[in-house]
Amino acid sequence: MSHGTALCRMLSTSGILGYGFPEASLDLGMTRGVHMLGVDGGSTDPGPHYLGSGKTLNSHRAMRRDLRLMLRAARRHGVPMVIGTCGGAGGTPHLAATADIVRALAAEDGFHFRMATIEAEQDPASLKRAHADGRMARLPGGPAPDPAALDRSARVVAMMGPEPIAAALDGGAEVVLAGRSSDPAPWAAMAMRAGLPPAPAWYAGKMLECGATPAVPKGHDCLVVEVGPDGVTLEPAAPERRCTPSSVANHSLHENPSPCIHIEPGGILDTTDCRFDAISDRAVRVSGMTWNPQPYTVKLEGAELAGYRAISVCGTRDPLLIATLDDFLARVRDAVATKAAALGVEPDGYRLIIRRYGVDGVMGASEPRRDARPHEVGFVIEVVAPDQDSADAVLALARVTMLHTDFPGRLCREGNMAFPYSPSDVACGPVYRFSVFQTMTVDDPLAPFPIHFEDV
């Protein structure tokens, strides 16, 4: 499309690449004169494991299915395809896995195009220089910026804004695969390149990042947003879904600390004065959003190894045990400590967590109901240790101790727990935790995000 167009129509296939979407919705949505299609590829929401391990959130098989349909639609209509936060966490291995799938699909379908991949993984040495320059700032709830955490991290990514994606499109890319990016960035980039102001461009991205989530009924499906100079119009692709003023307004609540103040790279999208007008029974126009430029910052996310995990699942149906559960579990912990020490694993060499489903498994210490005594309780026994062998060994002790520890009034002398599986113990491998979550001021929004072009 040409620059300076007063309208930009964009399609998002779903909330995350690999969640799936109805093929018919994509076909129908593309008939509406769409200038670009894309999908967000990830988030921190599924936890630190993917960033730390380098594994993709969704299966390669599921990403491949979505990418094949998207690539065919993009080529058939001659419009760019942009994927944000490739592979779930947007690090180098996640980006590489996504690029490999796209290259293979292109070869199978005989497509040729210019592709850009945009790296978001950061070198700890350059981050430490930025730290020394006073460029790091804490985020609400997150840890204080700490150079040691940068060193400890298995991987650190920076979250790009729309500028690197726009630069890739400017460079002639017809397919853009971005590493970690702000969820709205693919669409904000496209709309701003079309000459539209940042406020509606960012707002459109905020809506498109989750596919048809701003519509009712909710579901993994396609959304089309048209961006104009003064606002955006949303309409889901599938005829059975509708956008309503309340469904769209309420999408501003999703995964945000505030429904009105959205902090993004380079500014704040303020939706306090938004108006939501139904223009049909399925389409909503939103206007009144503003964009307040701020010093340019990018978010940094890092994950570090926290140990190795092993788990076992079991349950009790014994009311006598359930009546004395806290005492029983304290006894189990003491016995496990003694037995583990005999294997050379001291009490500070492992962490034993016993989750009690039916009591406080979902809310833990913040569970307000402390007196629940259900007829059965499910347990996940978990051990985290510095190596898998220690975790497996202590878990095996914890499992047998749960099974056979005596308690006052015990009648079930053959065993306390029903185990649904043999083997009962599962080695889960490395465990990661978020180690870096902060912002970094940058002078050039492109600098942390090298763009590689290739002819596929």
Partner: protein, 111 residues
Amino acid sequence: MAAIRDIAKVCKSKNAGPFELTIDVVFETRAQYDAVAATGVLGPELIARLYKVAPSDVLFTPYPAGLAFKATIPRAIPAGDLGDTDVYGCQQHAPLLDVDIPVNQWPTGEP
């Protein structure tokens, strides 16, 4: 008196990033939203008490455009860290369901 479980259209929780949890209560009509707002019950003090955090740690936003009240609090354990019970943070809303809102005449669901 009316429990939130009986009068709200939506009552949900979710991560707002790995270190914060956000909780939303949404109503069907403006009249219902106004009636709840007028009681002053849904506020940072209630959230602080229910979730055992300091009132100053609660970011509370009435959102009339969405007929919603939003509260964001720090997570006791970051998402996915050792001991976390809810990686997505989407099952932490239940304590709100039984909160009583002292409204005498509950507006109907008709806008």
